[in-house]
Symmetry: C2
DNA sequence: AAACTTTCGATAATCTATTATCATATTCCA
DNA sequence: TGGAATATGATAATAGATTATCGAAAGTTT
């Protein structure tokens, strides 16, 4: 076994700023590849390793939260948002935030089961893909 | 590129029967490893490759349906069940079927989005794990 | 600006899940 | 029952996502 990467987010770098900027301004959960693509327009030469490193650091610090959708790679969104769920577009494979939630009490598990959390995922076509 | 596995499920084998039996009798979505473990009690020496092969064939034939839960390996359940969702126990990592569903109309995506399907996943502790 | 430390980028390595390979064992029909 | 076709089991290979490695580049402190 080898020792893990040692990083502490002590310095202010253009790459780190770009990654934060991308996630904050896009307003929807993004995969590492999406962050890389968007980030490249802010910092030429941005590398995927840097994206992964910073997503990990920003998640560890609590600034980002992981978003897992069935059969999809992990996406990330800025933390602190009120309870919400996600929509996955089958055309462009982008995830969106949806505010509406039926409420936990609406879901019933078999008796004897304790429900502690829930996820709702909607699938379909986003507005952008519908109009083309 | 090489040619893919050629199998057509033409023969009746103890392994195939065991895999079907396990999935039909357990009544909840099972991962390949779970199927392997349970299947071994019916057919000594059952191999993981055989499990994967038959899960694939049974899915292609429509007898099984894949069940994807966030961040979890694909599970499989017998097809034909009425609309339902799943519960994932955080203790034993087993998935269960839950019949209750708020209904598609309860979920609202942003205007301009077309919702075609939805998934609900409950997380918590199953009855079995609660009692120990 | 020098020195020091952190971070970056390219890429190799790792990890988990799944599929391919292939020699052996089975099934099933003649 | 003989035999061709199919299936199995062990394991190598593959695939996708993520992490580690390491020399170069950049930030930070003095």
């Amino acid at each position: 076994m080898h020792e893990t990467d040692t990083q502490s987010m002590e310095r202010d770098t253009p790459q780190r700023r770009a990654i934060r900027e991308v996630l904050a301004s896009t307003g929807r959960p993004m995969s590492p590849d999406e962050v890389l693509d968007a980030g490249k327009s802010l910092v030429k030469g941005l590398g995927i390793a840097t994206v992964y490193r910073n997503l990990k650091l920003l998640t560890a610090s609590g600034w980002l939260s992981p978003v897992n959708l069935p059969g999809e790679p992990t996406r990330y969104e800025v933390s602190g948002k009120p309870h919400h769920h996600h929509f996955l577009c089958r055309e462009c494979d982008r995830a969106f935030e949806i505010e509406d939630c039926p409420g936990t009490q609406e879901f019933h598990a078999p008796s004897g089961f304790r429900v502690e959390a829930h996820d709702v995922v909607l699938y379909g076509v986003c507005a952008n893909c519908k109009t083309r």
